[in-house]
Symmetry: C2
Subunit: 114 residues, 2 copies
């Protein structure tokens, strides 16, 4: 299991990317899918997820639609056109960040002091 501190900052990007790939999802399904895709390594907490979803909604990146399923309310989150653009930018940023991290944690031998 990955310790809490390292996940900071990537939650928004993860959620947006999932909605782009999978289409509209409700909160509970998002946590399950992230757990599945990460092989159990990343476990989202609801205390982190719902505030993020509400914030993204207030920013116009997501819209919600309610649905009743087995007497349980499901709130589906769907990307807006603005959201589609935001995802692309967030993914670009994360990819760049990962590349930078890899330059540091997995430096090419022979460049600095080999």
């Amino acid at each position: 299991m990955i310790s809490g501190e390292i996940i900071k900052g990537s939650l928004k990007t993860i959620v947006l990317k999932l909605l782009k790939e999978e289409g509209p999802m409700h909160g509970y399904a998002i946590t399950r899918k992230v757990e599945e895709l990460s092989g159990g390594n990343i476990k989202l907490t609801y205390g982190a997820l719902y505030p993020v979803l509400h914030k993204l909604e207030s920013e116009g990146v997501l819209v919600t639609t309610s649905e009743n399923f087995n007497n349980r309310t499901r709130i589906y989150y769907t990307l807006t056109p603005k959201g589609d653009k935001v995802v692309i930018e967030k993914i670009r940023e994360m990819t760049e960040f990962i590349e930078s991290l890899q330059s540091i944690i997995n430096p090419k031998p022979g460049l600095s002091h080999a």
Copy 2:
């Protein structure tokens, strides 16, 4: 340039890994090296770096030695044996996290809904 939020949680790991690769460094040199290795993408702020260095020192992960260079004090940070172990664990964790992120942001086609 990478926005602030995404870097959260990885600063400690970056610093420790640098000290492992480069040997003892002072704070200013750490910021320069990170900028260089990341191609200018990651810029550490001193307000973030020094508190982290001090905390790692108080945890016994680093020790400091002062040196005078051109009438400027340089405080070199060196990994302790405990630090060597912590780096290995941190890098393992970060690698695992990056792999999980990539499963999400770069999903294999043909597995879920292709």
